[in-house]
């Protein structure tokens, strides 16, 4: 049995962008939006290496990362603590991620700008569901004031 729960998989389909936070060797943090956190298996995810070079440099110095993902089905969100394992520039995970990135780029009008350099594979160290972050769906009201 892996560390990632089945219910997290919709949060890894690239519908809502995720965020990744890393730290350099001297402890300087870096935050970046990322198109997709890709579900590899119950213990591993892949992050797309496109152009967030500071993230790449940081994980080579300090292999820990934290990503935030949110489900477009339930709007539950999770924090995943990760450790960088290796990069893949071919194979099924790279091909699948490349296809997803291309689709996302096309949808958001950035086709040709998103170019996958590698699928970076991370081991999942911990998973935390952010239970206090969201208002339950039935209780969501329109905001006060003029629309």
């Amino acid at each position: 049995m892996g560390i990632l729960p089945d219910e997290i998989q919709p949060a890894m389909q690239g519908v809502i962008p995720s965020h990744v936070v890393t730290c350099s060797g001297d402890g300087t943090p870096n935050a970046s939006a990322i198109s997709q956190v890709y579900y590899v298996d119950p213990d591993h995810v892949a992050l797309s290496h496109q152009f967030f070079n500071k993230t790449i440099r940081n994980v080579r110095e300090n292999p820990r990362a934290l990503v935030w993902v949110i489900s477009p089905a339930t709007f539950d969100s999770w924090d995943l603590e990760l450790e960088y394992d290796h990069s893949e520039t071919s194979g099924p995970v790279f091909e699948a991620l490349d296809m997803q990135i291309e689709a996302i780029a096309s949808i958001v009008g950035l086709k040709g700008i998103f170019k996958l350099r590698s699928a970076d594979i991370y081991r999942v160290i911990s998973v935390t569901k952010n239970v206090d972050e969201r208002i339950p769906l039935p209780e969501i009201d329109d905001p006060p004031g003029p629309r």
Partner: protein, 117 residues
Amino acid sequence: MIPDRVVELLHGPALSARILSDLENNGRVALGITLASHEAYQLKGRYLASRPTGDEDIARQETYQRKMLAAVRQVYPEEIARPLVLGFAYRPGVAITFRVEEIFLQTPGPGAGNKMA
């Protein structure tokens, strides 16, 4: 009145304890800001202080939510835009201030990562 180069961000309850613990230990801040258009920036700086949010902060958050909902509706269908924007809990909340030392462009494209200030 917030001094020049000092940013105040308002955060909900879920992760506040851990964020504040990290800020007390390290003091360094990286804040990513992304518009629905994918225009994006990152502010880096030093943690200054935190305080519980009050009525004025909540009013600012509600104003922000209305603007955010209008922007997100341009990108996502209503069944995603509405719960995505309105579903964040922010009562109670915490206001975190930090001094901005560097600003980076993060909009996807050739200039991503460039230091702006």
